[in-house]
Symmetry: C2
Subunit: 615 residues, 2 copies
């Protein structure tokens, strides 16, 4: 019966899929393309992929020892299972708690940065569109269809020595005859990359391919206008939440690289369809894609070799700009549409950092500016134009700021605690969507730890102080109760544990140490900085007071900070539109000196110091 | 039971295949990749795909009315069937007569033309190979693998602004580490198209893609040496023997274009494997392909649109040089290996004519020269350098010269009658391989018709003269018996019918009319020609005396004729090796004026005259 298809209903989202008996619920979730949280990639090590099965219990294989480890008696009675452990035997309805699923997560696609107007000149456009009216073929004019188009491009626009691939020609002959010999040629450098029906503008996609989320923007390449935008979770999350676990999956699983690449290709095709539909256009009008991302993400996207990226000395396979073909990735765009990925700097300083640096103008004027993009890996760039230097590093800040590795942590989704204040010894919380609290998301954890330090519940080394009211001995050691079970949406206590505080210390210590090393490398003090720019979703939602209070960020006047939103996405839009911007980004990537933390003298000591709170 | 696989054994070649019940023997032959003759593409119209089933007769559906039409009582009793009509119901053994199968056919790959020495300079090479020894990556030198290679190409060879595709990078990182950081970079223009292990030379394939046969040559691109060569039948023959029937198949069958393209892609991959094996090299070292062929063949190969090629005014989709990607065609060559197809002149004057013109040097000196490539379509080029003109046309000479549409015709294979003399009223024959005669191949038919005219068995209009001994009234009208059934290998009489003579008249009339029109267009007489070059297999085996006697070729002294063999293949080799040669071919294609026969004044009259024999 192994070949029989079972029916699995995922609730509350109401998605029904067919699945083979013998696979796990996690496998079925992945097949369904649902973005499930699974830090460990499905090895039973992270306990993130919690699901609830309330009926048809006989449709699942028995609870495993691993699951016994992860759940309380109450949870098991309530039907909790780990999706990666529970094997399907029959039709079943599976509840996906919002804390496990990453739907509805805030995926920022906006920025307050100045966005480029349309390119100054036609020649600055990556894709140039030329309307053509051709003479019809007849017995006295037997030129081939392509020569007819080439001749007109030469006559009318002075373009010579053009080439076109077979794929482009494949489209030309029927299109010409459908449109009474009127057509728009899309030219990229010396190459005709596609033809459009008359009157159509070429479109483009700017993509910020993050480890957690993908932000996609659909632009009109002629006017520079953003027609539609959307943020969606990176579907690779189901194969490992952080970069390293995905590289391990790609290396060790059969076809691992191809599976990870295809997951993103498919998602990108889907979101392009959605954006095109919303904008009332066709994806076949998409003539160029510009994608930024960290080095591992762009390597996985292009299926580049990653063994050498996953072990010392962690070198990229390629760091210069690369161009893939949309058609090779199954993307239904214009015939020879390219996916342009700008230069990266190093194995862990990617094209996204270059894009952010471009969009924020760091290093383009005389001011000393630091740019920080906080994520699972945090990249930091420092420009000291007075000394004609620009340098960058990456620090492994981990996913704690995103709610992972935190006992009651969750991603930024409905019911996530995002603000915490402790007033007169009583915790006051605010949740996303004002839903009943079900867990703590990144900004909430930082708030909570900063407050615990403020009221002395933890000391400057981060140790809980039993004498402070609210600190208690819980199941997992000393902890501070934020929400009692009777007030929580999950029916469980929500507390901050000693382990949670330590995770936050590791994360903020890594970032703070990176800032210190970069300042030392540049030979300047934090006070010398004219500006610190915080990019990315986390940096935007961060409470600056709190971040400074917990010594995550240097203690500078708040007006020297600027929170800019998705700057990497803005840079991707600029590079989608403009040749000049691409050259500028390339120059930035070459100018940036990469600072390798692991060989920095005294790094361990700096890191240890940075984990402390101010006394 | 429709899903059950049957076993079909093809004899005498001993090939066993699995097939589904319900398909025809022709389908099974095609699936087996065997080159069966089937002029009509499997519609039961040509009677070519004869097979014999002697046992297990219950494994086939009953004989159809179409088959009753094509076979005599004796043949039916002997087990003859049409492969396109006979439906498989069970396991069966099928004999493929050599007259139906195109194995063992003479497929000329040689030429007596001077072949190019290796390109004069590295810069003339299409693919330039650069050996590199790179410093290993370490913590103090964190450049990406590609940048490391690019930097060395710049340092050691002065190459800058290079690009490489993701596919090339995919190969680089593992290869570098397997070869202790030694590697050979293959550069094409500004692009690195692949990397080889140290010491390897890049290889190339020159391909002459004919309607009937494919000639493939494996060359060392550094030394210019031909390492191996082979001629094989074009597998598209199973889908229609001539260009038009294949265009119709491509247009009217679901996925027809893709099926025809893939048939050649697969065959090319197989022959590349064979050639590489014979030469002791790997197909992954193949870094460039140069392919010539008639316009329809190259369009089908690249899956270009063909509707406009199949109907008036018959324009190509593209006529400029095109480059496909070997990887897009499933060819297991170097990563970014291109398939270069030179310019064609018109819908029925292809890159093969250009290549032949290049290789024979037509138009490169002061002499007036005509080049003729006889085939199903015959292309003729005329150079009149004194008048600075070069012109070409194509005439639909049909497949009669290849033994098709001839009652007892066959392709040039073992047992085919290739020479005929009638001495003292008695026909003397010579067969290929000295096997017992089973049919008449092209050169034999021409001989026979010329001899029939010489002895007066046919008059100048081609009509049989009943009064001449040997002329008799046969089943199909007046005919001349060449081989009585008791002496033939097939047990049948082999004769030349009135219909056969008319087919030959149509074929030779078309070619002779083309020659006349081209001479008229150039304003010269045949006597003004310094040379007539006959290219291609048929032109090489042609008996010149006979061809002149039957007014197929102009009556010039024999020393003005030159039979050069596969000149198009030689031109393909030259263009595989040399940039200069490609430019030269491109110039030729632009210089050639295309002459459209159908609008030529008085063409019908010229054609009618040309069908006559000399009085």
């Amino acid at each position: 019966m192994a070949d029989t298809n079972l029916i699995v209903d995922f609730e509350p989202i109401g998605k029904r899929v067919e699945a083979k008996a013998g696979i796990t619920i996690l496998d079925a979730i992945r097949q369904a393309g649902l973005p499930i949280t699974a830090d460990c990639g499905g090895l039973g090590l992270c306990g993130q992929c919690r699901v609830i099965v309330r009926q048809q219990l006989e449709s699942l294989a028995p609870i495993t020892p691993t699951e016994l480890n992860w759940f309380t008696e109450t949870e098991l009675t309530a039907g909790y299972r780990l999706a990666c452990e529970a094997v399907l035997l029959g039709d079943v309805r599976v509840d996906l708690p919002s804390s496990s699923l990453i739907l509805g997560q805030r995926l920022q696609v906006t920025s307050n940065l100045y966005e480029d107007a349309p390119p100054d000149s036609q020649s600055d456009n990556i894709i140039q569109a030329y309307p053509l009216t051709l003479p019809a073929a007849n017995i006295h004019d037997l030129r081939s269809d392509l020569s007819r188009a080439f001749d007109k491009l030469s006559e009318a626009y002075g373009l010579t020595n053009l080439t076109a691939s077979p794929a482009v020609v494949r489209n030309l002959s029927p299109l010409l005859r459908q449109n009474q010999w009127q057509i728009t040629a899309l030219v990229r450098g010396q190459e005709v990359i596609g033809f459009l029906s008359p009157g159509k503008h070429p479109l483009g996609l700017a993509v910020d391919l993050g480890t957690t989320k993908i932000a996609v923007y659909l632009l009109d390449l002629t006017t520079g206008e953003t027609l539609a935008a959307e943020g969606i979770p990176n579907p690779q999350i189901g194969y490992g939440e952080d970069v390293i676990s995905r590289l391990v999956y790609a290396e060790n699983s059969p076809e691992g690289s191809a599976i990870l690449a295809q997951a993103v290709h498919t998602t990108l095709a889907e979101i392009a369809q959605t954006l095109a539909k919303n904008a009332g256009v066709s994806t076949q009008e998409i003539a160029e894609v510009c994608m930024v991302g960290n080095t591992a993400m762009t390597h996985l996207f292009l299926e580049l070799p990653i063994s050498q990226l996953a072990m010392a000395p962690y070198v990229p396979a390629a760091s210069t700009p690369l161009e893939g073909r949309a058609s090779d990735m199954g993307l239904p765009f214009a015939n020879d549409c390219r996916v342009y990925i700008p230069s990266c700097v190093a194995g862990f300083v990617g094209a996204d950092l270059v894009s952010m640096t471009l969009a924020t103008g760091i290093g383009q004027d005389k001011r000393a500016v630091m740019g920080i993009d906080i994520g699972t890996n945090t990249e930091i760039v420092l420009a000291l134009p007075g000394r004609k230097r620009m340098m960058a590093l990456s620090c492994a800040s981990g996913p704690a700021f995103e709610g992972a590795h935190i006992r009651y942590g969750m991603r930024a989704a409905a019911g996530g605690i995002e603000r915490v204040r402790i007033i007169d010894g009583k915790p006051m919380i605010q949740t996303i969507g004002k839903n009943p609290p079900v867990g703590i998301c990144g900004s909430g954890i930082i708030d909570a730890v900063a407050e615990l330090r403020r009221i002395g519940a933890i000391n400057y080394r981060g140790r809980f102080q039993e004498t402070i009211p609210g600190v208690r001995l819980g199941k997992y050691g000393l902890e501070y109760l934020l929400v009692p079970s009777e007030e929580s949406g999950s029916g469980e206590d929500i507390s901050i544990t000693q382990h949670d505080v330590n995770e936050i210390q590791l994360a903020k210590g890594a970032i703070r140490a990176g800032i210190t090393v970069l300042l030392q490398t540049g030979g300047v003090q934090a006070e010398d900085l004219d500006e610190i720019i915080l990019a990315g979703a986390f940096g935007t939602y961060l409470n600056l007071d709190t971040a400074i209070a917990m010594n995550l960020l240097p203690d500078l006047p708040l007006q020297r900070y600027r929170q800019v939103g998705n700057a990497a996405g803005v840079g991707a839009k600029q590079m989608l539109l403009s040749r000049r911007r691409r050259e500028q980004a390339n120059a930035i990537s070459q100018q940036i000196e990469y600072v390798e933390l692991t060989v920095y003298p005294d790094f361990r000591n700096i890191f240890a110091q940075s984990m402390l709170f101010y006394r």
